[in-house]
């Protein structure tokens, strides 16, 4: 199979590499770009562990053929922290104890980021809907919702300070 020239922006940096078009975005991120923060759970779009942002919207990277994401702006969990400083959502997850085994966490944080980027003051219902495509097998949902609420409050304060 002729390689496909995969050009995209990943975590703010331009990427240009040949990929087999039969590979999934998940495979290219993890194997070619070494971004192993994106997890593979079910591999069929049910669990959300492989959530990444495509042009700001959460998608399951296991359901996207790599060439379909060409030209897009892709954010993985590695692109969320800025200059080694954790993103307020990441800090909130730590503080609220919203991480148990951690496998769902990158996807949860990206789903939460997509929400807060467009709705800075979400209701609890909006938070639950935003993470409804992400399964936590440790069943820590109460703390996850609490963490997103905490992050929203912090981000609002940061905004206010600027």
């Amino acid at each position: 199979m002729k390689p496909f020239r995969f050009r995209a922006t990943v975590n703010g940096r331009p990427v240009d590499l040949p990929v087999d078009p039969r590979r999934r975005l998940l495979d290219v991120l993890r194997e070619d770009l070494g971004l192993t923060g994106t997890k593979e759970g079910c591999g069929e779009g049910e669990c959300g562990a492989c959530t990444v942002l495509l042009d700001g919207r959460p998608v399951n990277a296991c359901l996207v053929l790599a060439p379909e994401a060409a030209g897009c702006d892709i954010t993985t969990i590695e692109g969320v922290a800025v200059e080694g400083r954790l993103h307020p959502i990441q800090e909130a997850f730590l503080e609220a104890g919203a991480v148990q085994c951690g496998y769902c966490t990158p996807g949860m944080i990206l789903a939460a980021k997509a929400l807060l980027d467009k709705d800075p003051r979400p209701t609890d219902q909006a938070i639950k809907t935003a993470v409804s495509g992400n399964l936590c097998r440790c069943t820590g949902y109460v703390k996850i919702v609490k963490a997103v609420r905490l992050a929203a409050a912090r981000l609002a304060r940061e905004e206010g300070a600027v």
Partner: protein, 293 residues
Amino acid sequence: MLPPFDYHRPASLAEALFLLASLPGTKKILAGGTDLVPALRRGDLSPDHVVSLSQLAGMREIKEDKGFIRIGALVTFSRLAEFPLFLKGPYKLLAEAALQVGGPQVRNQGTIGGNIVNASPAGDLLPPLTALEARVRVCRQGGERVLPLAGFLTGPGRTCIHPEEILAEVDFPALPERAAGSFVKLGRRNSLAISRISLAAIVIRGEGGIVEEARLALGAVAPVPIRARKAEALLRGRKPSPALLEEAVAAISETVADSLGDRPSAPYKRAAVRGVAREALIKADPRFASGGC
């Protein structure tokens, strides 16, 4: 890695149709990929060619045009759920159904065209589109055909589309302001759940507050969505009230019983549909709960 196939990324609908007409071997069309990619991975499908529609921006539009609402086949569930025209009034049932599909990630990728051509008996957009009396526009090289959705869907997972054709657009006649729509789905959980039963309702109010027309489409109780014709007929010309609601609910349950016969799910579904029907009708016209005008 997925099984071997050649990947094509045509830049226009014309090029895509040319590829489908001229490529030898088996072909699959890739839109959102939420059904196709896992099917390829499981080995359920092993086409020689995968033709991606990702570059066909013209198929991502929603338009109001000459009394019709036209929705490009690549419009995602998220877009349907956010589109202003579908947020209130008669077309709300479309946004409500789109919001019931999968989770946010799947809604951001999955498309209305994919939901139609995959023809799952539980496909969430199919009952609303059936109630809206939608038509599909199917293109092939050198021609196209427009046919009612009801004739296009032929069975579970089956439609009458040919391998060299692309479903380009769905349209339906605009509804008057005095119409209201609703969609209610019963699943095993709120998110990422396959419909057990769903009902799309459209109620058009006539003079004096009577029901001028009711359209009720049931999902997941037959190989394809079905209209609850008995209930539609008994609602016509009458004024919504709690008593009329119960008559309609009983008629809808009968339709479900007739459709399912002695299938194992029948006793559950003909009882459960009553709750779904009550909720959908009250959402479409609150007078079913309270009477009054």
